[in-house]
Amino acid sequence: MIVLNIGTMKNIVIPKPSSESLIAQLGSLYSVLKNVNFGERLEFDLSSLDWVIPLLILPISAYINETQSKFRIDECSIKGYLEKISFPRGVSSISSFQRQIQKHKSYIPISILDKKEKIDRERLEALFSEKIFKTLGNVAGAQNAICYPIAELVTNIFEHSKKDSGFIFGQFYSTKNYLDICIVDCGRGLTKTYKEEKGLILTDAEAISEAMKGNSVKKDKERGYGIRTSKNIICKAFKGGGFILLSGSCALVSVRQKEKLVSLPNFYWQGTIITYRIPKPTASIDISSYIE
């Protein structure tokens, strides 16, 4: 990554991702936002990109929207693609989502979900899920398996982030037969949520661990399942799926049946980023044993 200081705004040249693996995507995000003070206005230069990955493009979109940062795509060879996915502003209404998918049939736009618009937000989320479902094809149980993690993880954002908006984006790789989904918020993150709701002083790694153990900040004992069950559906029900949850300066990486808590020195994301990969299902999927 090349960082130039132009006046008071840092210019960040976004490098080409080294590969499409989830771990490489995390590496790309880390290299772009390392040494950034979250909230400072930046200028993102996307000129050298010739393809994008959700774990890079969605957090950058969210960051631009959150901080009113600038971006440069005029000399970018995938400028057309970025416009088709509505980078960076996204779409936030049902009509604009429908217009975009009507116009650019094989592209899923970046969607911004608004907490206050309860019914319309659910309808926009439903359109997103249905588009993903249609893209991945119809095998028995696929709709449940696709909708479950989207619903639970987006719900989690609105219940805990204390922010009014969340971002979601998906990209299907037709030659590789898998789909990446990314969900982002710029809210208070897991560590601050545990501190403010339960008085627990935790590191980012400890906060992620508590979330994965089902330690809900809500009173109901049957709550706190959303993230863990979603991860299990992604990684186990979809055989070969992978999952990353990042909050603050730590990420949980769950790929190929291995789980790692990864520290991200000199990096801080205020909020939560979740990305996951699901292979296109070829046989029926039953998620009931993972729901708990």
Binding site: S21, G27, E122, E130, T155, G214, D220, P265
Partner: protein
Amino acid sequence: MKTKKSQNSATIKINKLLAPIISSRDVAEVLEDTIKKTDNKSVVLDFSNVKFISRSAAHALLLLKEKFESKVLNKKELSFINADNDVAEMLRIVAANRAFPRVKKPEFNPEKTDITSLLKEATA
């Protein structure tokens, strides 16, 4: 209000109020307002054309059912009809978990590493 009244009960068609994929706990809030406005003692929630309900939404809906059924004033019985297999199964799983909550907390023992080591290992 999208309700259909019979002699003893009011039927609420959920798909007229909510998205076909029901995700959030807000479902309870929206339905509660509609149910309160009915003057029947029995309210039927019709799930026709609902394609999916999340675990969170199913949990909120079951809590709402308990809330109305345990009221002293304005008590109402809630029942569910026309749920497809997946929606019905989700409601059953969540109801079972509510009746018999899991006692043991799940284990979570990930390996700890840093991003540099992870990237090195991934490219090795």
